[in-house]
Symmetry: C3
Subunit: 372 residues, 3 copies
């Protein structure tokens, strides 16, 4: 697709600064952008990137003034960017199949909404419910009494076990498993006996679940993923976990049983949370952090065991300089030793100095003064 900057400005109710005839042929993040791309910068702290970017033009906030290169001033650059991105999809890049494939197996007592699409070899079990306009790709499994809301998009080979509940506008990527048994056993005389996992999983509206993610069902209750939360690939979410709204869980993070994650929290890649902890509202867990204690709201932790990020950074800085400090310690020991030797000598002489004075006092000097 090709559009001039002016054409694009009209679409997003924006104002061009610089050459409006620049032709845009693609969209890209400001760091990866190439010539011909339109990019955006919403946060003033990234304005410096504008000089470096190869993008031909940028979406910027209304109050942006510099003219290093052609820009479109808009109320919200990122919103405008998403709006324009949609245009570049007009050639059906994101088109999905329509209708129910004859090979799909749908239980007679499943409740199918209007305009549902089901791909080849998908299986929808007894008493399952699928909402309007939801698309279920080939090879997916929807278990007995499972419910999926409307306008959902389920990619190929997703396994959704019995009784799990998925809200509206949820996207689930290939290979994800929702509702597998929680990892619960009691050790009876050295043998691990399975505790039946008879709870379920609740995925609220507008959640996105990455490829090959696993979300275990609760033991007796519900594992909950809050509204608008986005989960990256290969994340593990154990039984009885509750995640609040609008959280971000990055790839390969692992969340142990019964953890509570409050709204707007962020878990970076490969982070791990021990069981029964709470990650407070808006808290950030750094990549690979190993969290062994609950994390207060609006704080950031990192490292293993996870500590407040500033402390962790300070400690780590010290650790990196440890070899030189250890040299210092060894020097100190040497110096101290030699001082101790000096001191002993000094003390000795001091003592003899004393005796002289004593001797002097005893006779001579005093007596003499009497002679006066």
């Amino acid at each position: 697709m090709r559009k001039t900057l002016t054409e694009i400005a009209n679409i997003v109710d924006g104002e061009v600064l610089g050459d409006g005839n620049v032709v845009i042929t693609g969209l890209c993040g400001i760091k990866e952008a190439k010539n011909g791309d339109l990019s955006f910068v919403a946060n003033p702290k990234y304005f410096i990137l504008i000089e470096k970017t190869l993008a031909s033009a940028l979406l910027v906030p209304r109050d942006f003034t510099a003219i290093a290169k052609p820009v479109i001033r808009v109320d919200d650059p990122s919103v405008a960017f998403v709006k324009i991105a949609a245009l570049f999809l007009e050639d059906n890049l994101l088109e999905h199949f329509k209708g129910i494939h004859p090979t799909a197996i749908i239980a007679p007592d499943a409740q199918m909404g209007k305009n549902v699409s089901v791909g080849p070899f998908a299986v929808i079990e007894s008493k399952a419910q699928i909402g309007n306009n939801t698309i279920i790709y080939s090879g997916c499994y929807v278990g007995r009494k499972a419910t999926i809301g409307k306008d959902c998009l389920i990619y190929p080979n997703v396994s959704m076990r019995e009784r799990i509940q998925i809200g509206d506008r949820v996207i689930v990527h290939s290979g994800a498993v929702i509702g597998s048994d929680g990892f619960g056993f009691v050790n009876v005389k050295g043998v691990h006996q399975k505790i039946p996992q008879i709870g379920t999983v609740v995925i609220e509206d507008d959640v996105e679940i990455g490829a090959n993610v696993t979300i275990d069902r609760a033991r007796f209750d519900r594992t909950i993923i809050g509204r608008g939360t986005k989960i990256d690939n290969l994340v593990h979410i154990a039984h009885n976990v509750t995640i609040g709204e609008h959280c971000i869980i990055v790839a390969q993070a692992g969340i142990s049983g019964s953890v509570a994650i409050e709204k707007n929290a962020v878990l970076a890649g490969q982070a791990g949370i021990a069981g029964h902890l709470t990650i407070g509202e808006g808290a950030i867990v750094a990549a690979q952090a190993g969290v062994t204690k609950s994390v207060p709201a609006f704080t950031m932790v990192s490292g293993y065991p996870a500590k407040p990020h500033d402390t962790a950074k300070k400690v780590n800085a010290c650790v990196q300089r440890l070899p030189e400090y250890i040299k210092t310690i060894n020097d100190l020991e040497k110096k101290l030793k030699s001082l101790e030797d000096k001191i002993d000598k000094c003390a000795l002489t001091a003592v003899s100095g004393k005796s002289v004075k004593a001797a002097a006092k005893k006779s001579g000097l005093r007596k003499y003064s009497k002679k006066k």
Copy 2:
């Protein structure tokens, strides 16, 4: 389901302490329990939790006496708990489908046991063997000459490659891959040439394998998972690994090639074991530990590189206090410097003190005394 405490006590041959008319409507772990729940506490060290728990009643050992709330005294609280949990399943919560679905493709020369169930779109290849009462869900793949024992439960979309062997009463969760090629190459003039992985995988009886777990086949021999071992989601087990009986491998742990894990060992979440090491019997590897040396039996290691847990904790405590220690070091340096100055002065005066004495000795004092 609703039962009074007395009714439940009769089922598990237990003795009620407190109000036997309390109505139990659910089961739960002691920490997550709510009003109406029955929970259990087997280990005296958790008795303190009884005051905090919201559970309406608890299963406790025979020798338990306190009556903070209604309890049922039994020989083994955890065993009794599992037994009661089964009751709460009477409404067929865990019911599975029956029979072989017409769309399943089963090779004519596959050996099917009695009462085997196979879901839609499952594939069972030539010369595969399936034991009595085993249930294989939709979309599963059972490769040529693979054998699965009796009373197994294989959830949807599991891939079991050719020649792998699975014992009896094994549970495999969705998306697991058993028998993928080991990761083995030889670098020939800068190109990684594949070493054919012609071994297999042996899963012994009563093993449970989590969702999206990967277990590679051995290069020439067998990758072995020992009897009763339980494996959580997203665990990676490389070629030629041997795991003993009744081990616990928690989510996202990774075990490199040819590692030997002895019986009753525990690997916590996201732990990693380097190649060719041995994890001794009953050893515990803490979460996220990076194990670079073999771990002796009945010891616990943590951290990276993994160290005995007590050492690691001690070291970590020191590390956390490093910033203050470094202050101390700097203070010591200053003090020492100023001491050195003092000392030098002191030494000087000491010397002059000496000279006076010498002068005194030389004439005055001695002479004078002679005058007497």
Copy 3:
């Protein structure tokens, strides 16, 4: 299969040293080898293993002389080993099915090469292209306009999304997901809005992709896996990542968005790379390393945050000895204190020593001398 050492030597144009009648019944790595196995050692630094190995015979370089046990001298032991391994497959261990299964669903406008094999319940969407001799196992999904080269091997239940491109001789293991959406959102007034991921994935020739690996499509461009690169199980590769030729990515490693990994680099197990970094040519990232800065070519990093490996080892050695150093610091403090006390005394006496001298000077001694 059974062959004498002499028979095998002839196959690889090798020369027997020792008993050529030794019968070889299997192949194995030198550490795991058992009696009857043939193994190999290419690198002189592993020659010491020859005394320990249980292998009955070994492939060694031409210049090898010791005769601890029967050997075959060849130009390149590892190449010869792979060649012989092929022999041990003659009984069709690695045989695959042939032909297109009637249940496979192939779009009328998909372009199928010669001699392509497609298993049951596989789906090949509109305008997809499959090269000659490629084998696609059951339950695989090939999206619209996706292209797969020739001589590829795709194991069961692999999901390959629309428009992705796979080269020749590529192996993809079960459960892998290629072309899932990149994890990209813009936060608009507290809500994470999805940035359409309209790019794709390009897998070059001779790549191998492990079980349950996830490779995300680029946002607007291409995620690229370079020729000959081998990827182990459960690896995550985010959007816009570019990996060069002949890299090794070990199990459970995670690579964040827009990372560039140059040719011949190695990522060990569970390593994590933060976004937008560069891992230089031939660089090695140790297991579990958390890389927060770009890694120069031909260097090795380890630890979190990742540091040059030698530094990291040195620092870690210091850290492990920290408790004793802290004892030293405390000792130093005590000694210094006691020294300060000594000093003060010493200084005092030194002063009085001085006054005596002064007094002495003032009168006595001088006067007296005048008397002379």
